[in-house]
């Protein structure tokens, strides 16, 4: 994730006896924002490569740990240049830094690439809804294809100390070093599946060591939560653990929660490298903060790769204003009603409008029960989206006007935006149409 804790990563490098460390710095949603940055400024569009190369890489070089990161985001080559600069500035002479260049386009080149892919038989329909790309084509600004482990393994074979990549599948960053070390064949589907399972457990850092965990009350020392370590065996089975003495916990329950994180059909988990069956794997306790994961199976990789297009999707803003006792909730509800009436009166046009009461229903919406006791304070949250930026801004201004013309004692109003929304269009492309390249430079 980006940003995440540096000290926990350094602890793994310094005390974890690891040979490789990988950093997933991207959520699915990170990409469109990065593509937009690169569109606006050709040298931008990466995530945390500066911190990775300035603060983490020197420790890796001292301890002989190879590092892999997708901090290249939507612009791996620009990130590569920064990593090289940072390595030079820190005197890391001899460090080999690799970049993986895949299928990333922004701006006008994207439309040409879309036409080429269509000519090669890709429909580029929306993966979830089946909608044709035509419906947003005029607004498309970028495309990135999710790559598998092979180019990373190639970079490691070329002696890379740091591999910088972009929109790789997260889990491939952990499969790649194991495949490289053990010489795994890319068509040995069971070991590929086990490598992906390891990656899936590792890719959210603290998620498997007690972060974002249902039993959070029982997690020791969350202020110094240890990051996970995988001890991987030649057959792909592994032990998930953490540095001894670090905070956090590795247990059957932390592993179960993370295995289920963001998967759909567990018997058919699609990755560029293999279709993984999560229902055949086995977890067992192997000591304090040690869990063995074994036996996952895989089937041949798909003929297509996931791609995400980014397209312009209007403007968004959100604003808040706060109310306290007496009558905090009633005041907030009156304010929300009044705002809606104001928007109608002013003739503002939105594609969508959402009013929440923070403290009551801002997260669970209509599923939230009515509060059983009198609340001391709540906030009204207004979120709007629409084609016209001026309407969105006007909606936000009205929030401040509630201080003067709304229910008693509104406090602390603020808003964020308007900003242009860049939406994702997940789709698939034929594997054969996508090429990747590895380049290595020595500091």
């Amino acid at each position: 994730m980006w940003p995440d804790r540096t000290d926990a990563a350094l602890e793994v490098i310094e005390k974890g006896s690891v040979a490789y460390i990988a950093f997933d710095t991207m959520a699915e949603m990170t990409l469109p924002g990065l593509q937009r940055q690169r569109l606006d400024s050709p040298g931008k569009g990466y995530t945390d490569i500066r911190r990775a190369s300035a603060e983490i890489l020197p420790a890796c070089m001292r301890h002989g740990v190879k590092m892999i990161t997708n901090a290249g985001g939507a612009n791996p080559e620009a990130a590569w240049q920064i990593a090289l600069e940072q390595a030079r500035a820190r005197g890391l002479k001899g460090a080999r830094i690799a970049v993986i260049v895949g299928d990333d386009t922004v701006g006008e080149a994207t439309l040409r690439r879309v036409r080429e892919l269509e000519a090669e038989g890709a429909s580029l329909a929306h993966a979830d809804t089946g909608a044709p790309l035509e419906s947003v084509l005029g607004r498309v600004i970028a495309m990135s294809v999710y790559l598998g482990h092979e180019p990373i393994a190639r970079a490691l074979a070329l002696g890379a100390d740091l591999v910088v990549t972009g929109r790789h599948t997260d889990s491939a960053m952990w499969l790649a070093p194991a495949a490289h070390e053990f010489g795994w064949r890319a068509d040995d589907w069971d070991v590929m599946a086990r490598g992906i399972v390891v990656g899936h457990l590792m890719e959210c850092s603290g998620h498997v060591t007690g972060g974002n965990f249902s039993f959070w009350q029982d997690v020791p020392h969350p202020d110094r939560l240890g990051f996970p370590i995988a001890e991987v065996y030649e057959n792909g089975d592994a032990i998930i653990t953490k540095v001894e003495g670090s905070g956090g916990v590795v247990s059957l329950r932390t592993c179960r929660e993370q295995l289920l994180y963001e998967i759909h059909d567990p018997a058919n988990y699609y990755t560029p490298d293999v279709v993984v069956d999560f229902t055949t794997l086995h977890l067992e306790e192997a000591g304090p903060d040690r869990v063995r994961v074994s036996g996952a199976t895989g089937r041949p990789r798909p003929d297509t790769l996931k791609a995400c297009l980014a397209y312009r999707d209007g403007y968004f803003a959100e604003g808040f204003t706060f109310y306290a006792w007496p009558g905090a909730l009633a005041k907030a509800r009156r304010a929300a009603e009044t705002l809606e009436k104001r928007y109608q009166r002013l003739g503002l046009r939105f594609e969508s409008l959402q009013m929440d009461i923070v403290g009551v229903n801002a997260l669970h919406g209509p599923l939230a029960p009515e509060p059983e006791c009198e609340l001391n304070e709540v906030a009204v949250r207004v979120a709007v989206k629409g084609a016209r930026e001026s309407d969105i801004l006007a909606a936000m201004r009205e929030i401040y006007a509630m201080d003067l013309s709304g229910p008693a004692a509104a406090a602390g109003a603020f808003h964020v935006g308007p900003r242009e929304m860049i939406a994702l269009w997940p789709t698939s492309v034929p594997r054969g149409a996508i090429a990747s390249d590895v380049r290595v430079a020595q500091v």
């Binding site: 699915e28 949603m29 289920l260 994180y261």
Partner: protein, 106 residues
């Protein structure tokens, strides 16, 4: 009528997003609990319970090896992370929403 319990008392869960699809991994505390979840927490019941937040269909998958059911909910995040107006556009709190559901136990 049997006794009822809230899922939060017999299970734990984690949720996340892929576009406008949210999945909730619902994990029993023990094997007996898993049998109960399997019997009571059907896709239909989850759809009915979560319907205020989930527009599309709900599919259930079984993972007895993890004592878990995985619910895949479509049209669940107000358009998905990059388009949604929700604070929780990534569905992190959907697991909690499901854990409030009550089921009948033996």
């Amino acid at each position: 009528m049997g006794e009822t319990v809230r899922l939060v008392d017999i299970a734990h869960a984690r949720s996340g997003d892929k576009g406008d699809i949210c999945n909730v991994g619902l994990i029993a505390l023990d094997e007996q609990g898993y049998d109960m979840l399997r019997r009571e927490v059907t896709a239909e019941r989850v759809k009915a319970y979560m319907g205020g937040l989930v527009e599309g269909e709900v599919t259930r998958y079984e993972l007895p090896n993890l004592l878990a059911l995985n619910f895949v909910m479509r049209g669940a995040l107000g358009g998905g992370g990059s388009r949604s107006l929700r604070i929780d556009s990534l569905g992190k709190t959907m697991a909690g929403a499901l854990l409030r559901m009550e089921i009948e136990v033996d």
